[in-house]
């Protein structure tokens, strides 16, 4: 199942985002992760004949955005990145303010390893729509995928200032702050989301989970430092959150995506072959999916409090798109192993789905019967 990503060129860019291509196991844990694909298998199979047909379609109808998009995408899938960049720039020359092509150019430059050029191209999105919160948010998603967490944070700050009542956006910002190591800020942001009575439950619950993770880690640190009173205070707060399954779980998975017009689903299949997803939200071993979001951004979260030995498949399915003809879904899956425990590890896995109905396996979580010995390896 180990897959060499087609996006190996991105390795440098994504270094901070995903430990590409390696099984990882934390000593003392019985769980390990094997990274999967970023995009559906077989997406790169595009014949020269098909490319020629797409080029002919563009030549015949230069104003047809669908044809332009199909050509650029096909060239990218076929790893003809220079040709894809040429085709994308030719498209932008006649469709100067189309944000789809702006993003494609950034994608191609990213894959070519042209990090600064990609950043410049991507940033044009907010230059053209400086007062559009969704543009800043979409760009944040792209920057996250490209490993530029600080850039993503800056965009989310701007977007959040424009749409103060958007609790999902607030969640995303808190999450990025957390990943940047701004634990205090993240805690404050998650706590504000949880405390707000207008927050939808679908956002409040994962926010409470994140808050609990931060406080649980803080309580553990306090105990280790001999600060019993502080630890007690934090634990009291955790209890007040009344989280099902508490703050220590074997596997936790979060799914987010980048637009408000698409429905992407998280599927997690247990070693017994039981798939937990939107129409089967609770597994027989206590696994639970929370919540099925059908209007965009997520988050959806999966919890397995007591993982069974064997392999858990973590997959993302593109269920449906909204108005755009060019909609693809991209986002992140965050896998947390040994949540709340000393052996906790986190894995951020970007994914990209081109068409509805597609599924990508982003990771396999392997569960041993016994923990890996300290100092050993899987």
């Amino acid at each position: 199942m180990r897959t060499i990503t087609r996006l190996a060129a991105l390795a440098g860019i994504l270094l901070s985002a995903a430990p590409v291509g390696a099984d990882t196991a934390v000593p003392g844990s019985r769980l390990s992760i094997v990274l999967g694909d970023r995009e559906p298998a077989g997406a790169d199979h595009v014949s020269d004949l098909a490319l020629a047909a797409l080029q002919t379609a563009v030549d015949g109808a230069p104003g047809d955005r669908t044809a332009r998009f199909a050509l650029v995408r096909a060239l990218m899938r076929a790893h003809k990145l220079d040709a894809a960049l040429t085709a994308a720039k030719a498209w932008r020359a006649v469709d100067a303010y189309n944000l789809v092509v702006v993003r494609l150019i950034g994608d191609i430059q990213s894959e070519l390893g042209q990090r600064d050029l990609a950043r410049r191209a991507y940033s044009a999105v907010v230059e053209l729509l400086p007062k559009d919160a969704s543009a800043h948010r979409a760009l944040a998603s792209v920057l996250k995928q490209a490993g530029d967490l600080q850039g993503a944070y800056d965009r989310l700050i701007v977007a959040a200032a424009m749409t103060k009542d958007d609790r999902r956006l607030a969640f995303e910002l808190a999450d990025v702050a957390n990943r940047l190591g701004k634990a205090d800020e993240a805690r404050e942001r998650f706590a504000a989301i949880v405390a707000d009575p207008t927050t939808p439950e679908a956002v409040r619950y994962p926010s409470a989970q994140r808050l609990a993770q931060i406080d649980h880690a803080a309580a553990r640190a306090a105990r280790a430092a001999g600060e019993a009173d502080r630890a007690k205070e934090l634990e009291a707060g955790l209890a007040a959150l009344k989280l099902a399954g508490g703050t220590e779980n074997d596997i936790k998975v979060y799914l987010t995506w980048d637009t408000d017009r698409s429905d992407v689903d998280l599927w997690v299949t247990s070693p017994a072959g039981e798939k937990v997803f939107y129409s089967h939200k609770n597994g027989k071993d206590g696994e639970a999916l929370y919540d099925d979001v059908t209007t965009g951004y997520g988050p959806e979260s999966y919890t397995a409090p007591h993982a069974q030995a064997g392999d858990y498949l973590v997959q993302v399915n593109y269920y449906g798109a909204g108005r755009s003809n060019f909609s693809e879904a991209r986002g992140e899956v965050v896998v947390i192993l040994d949540e709340g425990k000393a052996t906790e590890s986190r894995h951020v896995l970007p994914y990209r789905l081109y068409d509805t109905g597609q599924t990508v396996t982003v990771a396999r979580v392997h569960v041993d019967r016994h923990a890996v010995a300290l100092g050993g390896s899987k």
Binding site: A121, S123, V126, E127, K131, D154
Partner: protein, 917 residues
């Protein structure tokens, strides 16, 4: 019974406003148009101050551009028309007609370049000392480089770029273009193919083609209130086509700085007033009605200063009447306030495919017809002087929601920062290369090139491309050469606009260069990195150099850069067209030499919101207008101007005595809307402000429906109709619409003489009789030329000074009798002034205060002019009635003697000597 003395008085009037018989009847609005369109500049020879040994020009003149009629007086006494491209030998005088011309003085501008405004006249000649020039009517611009052959005006050699105005005493007023670049607008416009706002175009669909409809009639009615003018342009288009009705698209250019406040369209013979409606709702209503084939019209902003209106139907063989209404500040020229109207109908229509004349054109200002033309082609350029006493120092308008006050502020001499020490300039130019710069790229490059070309040979420049990264186009600072400019521009042109705008990064990069000046060219909106106004201002101040910004692009915003320029002593200009770019470049050319007030900010006691909210730069000769909102019925009585001089804060208290005038609230609302739009403010608030004050915003459109029921059906309140009804009418001067009689006697402060009274009674009145205070009764006569009853009377030399009233009795055709009174003041006393001189950094501040004299406490002085030792003149600014100030920028000149000439409204004049201690 007209004595020689009376004739001389009359002549003085004529010289003051040289459009002949029209002069006196127009003087109520300040005088005749500077460029009357009905006739070329006067052919008789006015006085000019020129050397006695002057010979005709030996230098050959070349006509670069002639937009209208241009004539030359060379050998003999015959004026000969000349066209573009002509070379003229032996010239003595030049004069223009409706529009202006550009003349090269000697081949390759050997002695400079001369722009002549419409209906202007210039005398030229040469002697051993060089070329001598005098503007004897109208206005001109002279631009001379250091190396040009010498040119003298009023006997003194001149250099640089100057606006020249004719004066009554034969001398020529001079104003540096760098200080007041807006004064050169008409000259820059002469260089453009298409210029001039003021009239709309209608195109109609005919099969697959669109064709322009002829303008059968254009009537422009203007009403001035304080320092604002409201202009109503009535267009009557004719559809000559047979057959089915056609759909038309009407486009209208609003002049720069104007607020579009209303629109009306004739439907079924009735003029229906448009209403300001939230934009999306307006579109929905419009579309729903179009589907029913009824008669709506929707006016929306199209681009730049153009608005677009779809009109349906235009019946075959019928006329369509569309009225557009806007308000704008009066222009402040070197000679005072004026209403300007420029029209380039030929050029505009040429672009649309057909240069058709306007069947009939009329311009009426404050009830007085200024211009009336039939078959008008070739456009025109009019400037109607407005008397200074019609523009109060403060104006206020009370509404239920507050009192709104406009305060014209003239900073004291102590507020001015002295001109920078002369020396080579190091100018850093930042050019926006972000994605939003795509459309404005060509204009931005043109502007940058023009700006750099204005620098001197000893100056240096650096150019940076800026988006999310910085791309230097020069290696540090380089000398100003054509090749270096080409190279830098080529480097910027090669950058494909992309990415966002990290202005903080750009300011940091500029700071590292240590420039003496900074120029930013771009849309002005920070979208990446630091975007907060205060942190960016801190970065700007760290550069320690004036920052000027040319804001280019469809979405350009001046909100941030106005503040940055204000804090650092720079200038901001929104640049939409090539002539804006030229104006910006001219302003920058002279910038270091022009005194200015830096970081000017106005605080008004008791005001909840004062505009401008940002800091401003106030240039010498200019004024700052503050707009304040206070509690209803409680207009402010005091304002404080603060500024920074050489790093130290200074303040000036201004006492306010505001006069009631309309349109002040609208000005405040426009600034408030702009402020909210720049800050992405709440849309509903902006829409409400727009509707309440009758000012269009980006979220509102003007919608015309076919009758009152239609508005009611779509739940659209008739606010505009109410506002239009409440606003003083703009009238052509017919007696019925005037209400209170507005007979005019001008000037209303007069010396003994034979002034003329105009009474706008109906033509068919049985009689119009004027009874004078001395018992004399005179019968007025109908004057078809001015469309009014006129009577002239004598004020003899023995008449004591004082106020008098004449009584006007009108007997109408139906026997009805109406009366009105007319006040005038006889004044033979020249004003006495107290002069004070204060040494300031870089020069002397001179203040003149009028003293009570001859038992009169009236403050009627209207002009104080000082002749400086080098022969040039310094005109003091009137900052309140009877008080004038100005700055003479010079090194210390102990013992210098200056001649001060003071004049009052009645043209009484006195001279005093002022010795600098």
């Amino acid at each position: 019974m007209i004595t020689a003395k009376l004739v001389s008085i009359r002549w003085a009037f004529l010289r003051r406003s040289f459009a002949g018989a029209l002069a006196l009847s127009l003087a109520a609005c300040g005088g005749a148009p500077k460029m009357a369109s009905t006739a070329p500049a006067p052919v008789s020879a006015p006085v000019a101050v020129m050397p006695a040994d002057l010979a005709p020009m030996t230098l050959e003149l070349e006509v670069v551009t002639a937009r209208g009629d241009l004539a030359v007086l060379a050998a003999g006494d015959d004026w000969k028309p000349v066209a573009a491209g002509a070379r003229i030998a032996g010239a003595r005088e030049l004069r223009t007609g409706r529009r202006g011309a550009i003349i090269s003085l000697g081949r390759g501008d050997a002695a400079g370049r001369l722009w002549l405004r419409a209906n202007s006249r210039v005398r030229l000649g040469q002697n051993a000392s060089g070329v001598h020039l005098a503007v004897i009517a109208g206005e001109a611009r002279l631009r001379r480089k250091d190396a040009a052959l010498p040119v003298a005006i009023d006997g003194a050699p001149v250099i640089g770029d100057l606006i020249l105005d004719a004066r009554a005493d034969g001398k020529t007023d001079r104003t540096r273009v760098g200080a007041r670049p807006e004064l050169a607008t008409w000259a820059i416009a002469l260089e453009q193919v298409e210029t001039g706002a003021g009239v709309g175009r209608m195109e109609a669909q005919a099969g697959d083609k669109t064709e322009p409809l002829a303008l059968a009639r254009v009537t422009v009615r203007v009403r001035t209130d304080g320092d604002m003018a409201t202009t109503e342009v009535e267009h009557v288009f004719h559809n000559p086509a047979d057959g089915a009705p056609r759909e038309g698209t009407f486009r209208f250019p609003v002049p720069d700085g104007a607020m579009l406040i209303g629109m009306a369209m004739e439907i079924d013979g009735k003029l229906m007033e448009g209403e300001i409606v939230e934009r999306e709702k307006a579109r929905e209503v419009y579309e729903s009605i179009v589907d029913k084939m009824e008669d709506p019209a929707l006016l929306e902003w199209e681009q730049g200063n153009w608005f677009k209106l779809r009109v349906f139907p235009i019946e075959a063989g019928k006329d369509k009447r569309v009225v557009i209404r806007y308000t704008q500040p009066l222009s402040r020229g070197a000679a005072g306030f004026a209403y300007d109207y420029a029209l380039a109908i030929d050029d505009a229509q040429a672009k649309a495919g057909a240069a058709q004349p306007i069947g009939e054109f009329a311009l009426i200002v404050d009830g007085k017809e200024v211009s009336h033309e039939s078959q008008l082609a070739g456009g025109l350029d009019l400037s109607v002087p407005i008397a200074p006493d019609k523009v109060p120092a403060a104006m206020t308008e009370a509404r239920a929601d507050g009192s709104y006050t406009a305060i014209r502020i003239h900073p004291d001499a102590a507020m001015f920062q002295a001109p920078a020490v002369s020396g080579p300039r190091k100018v850093a130019v930042v050019i926006d290369t972000s994605r939003s710069a795509l459309e404005g790229k060509a204009l931005a490059l043109t502007l940058a090139r023009q700006t750099l070309a204005e620098l001197g040979p000893a100056d240096q420049f650096a150019v940076l491309g800026a988006d999310v990264t910085i791309a230097p186009a020069t290696k540090d600072f380089v000398p100003v050469t054509p090749a270096a400019i080409d190279q830098a521009m080529a480097a910027i042109a090669a950058i494909e606009p992309d990415g966002a705008s990290d202005l903080g990064l750009a300011l940091d990069a500029v700071a590292a260069l240590h420039p003496s000046e900074v120029v930013y060219v771009g849309d002005g909106i920070p979208t990446w990195g630091e975007t907060g106004a205060d942190p960016l201002a801190a970065k700007a101040l760290a550069i320690h150099a004036p920052i000027s910004a040319a804001l280019v692009g469809k979405g350009a915003s001046s909100a941030l850069w106005t503040d940055l320029a204000g804090r650092t002593g720079g200038r901001t200009q929104v640049v939409r067209r090539a002539d804006d770019a030229a104006q910006f470049a001219l302003a920058l050319a002279d910038a270091p030499q022009v005194p200015r007030v830096v970081a000017a900010k106005v605080e008004v006691a008791g005001a909840e919101l004062v505009f401008p909210t940002a800091t401003s730069t106030v240039w010498a000769g200019d004024e700052l207008v503050a707009l304040a909102k206070t509690e209803t019925g409680k207009p402010p009585t005091e304002a404080v101007l603060t500024a920074i001089v050489n790093g130290k804060p200074v303040r000036q208290t201004i006492h306010i005595s505001a006069v009631a005038e309309p349109n002040v609230a609208r000005r405040w609302a426009r600034d408030q809307i702009a402020s909210l739009e720049a800050a992405s403010g709440d849309k509903d608030t902006i829409v409400k402000l727009s509707q309440d004050f009758g000012v269009l915003s980006r979220y509102t459109s003007l919608l015309v429906l076919e009758n009152d029921e239609a508005y009611k059906q779509h739940q659209i309140e008739r606010k505009q109709q109410e506002l239009a009804a409440a606003t003083p009418a703009i009238t052509g001067g017919d007696l019925d619409s005037l209400g209170a009689r507005q007979a005019s006697l001008s000037p209303d402060e007069i010396q003994p003489g034979d002034p003329e009274i105009k009474i706008p009674a109906p033509r068919d009145a049985r009689s119009v009789v004027v009874t004078f205070p001395f018992g004399e009764t005179k019968l007025a006569e109908w004057d078809a030329e001015v469309d009014a009853w006129m009577v002239r009377f004598l004020i003899d030399n023995q008449t004591p000074d004082g106020e008098y009233q004449a009584r006007v009795t009108i007997t109408h055709a139906d026997g009805r009798v109406e009366t009105t009174t007319l006040s005038y003041t006889v004044d033979t006393q020249a004003p006495a002034m107290k002069l004070t001189v204060t040494r300031i950094a870089g020069g002397y501040a001179i203040t003149a205060r009028q003293l009570a004299s001859g038992g009169s406490r009236r403050k009627d002085a209207d002009r104080v002019e000082i002749t400086l030792p080098d022969g040039t003149s310094l005109m003091l600014d009137q900052i309140e009635r009877g008080k004038f100030t100005g700055i003479w920028w010079t090194a210390p000149v102990s013992g210098a003697s200056l001649r001060v000439v003071v004049r009052d409204n009645a043209l009484n004049q006195a001279a005093q000597e002022l010795v600098i201690q």
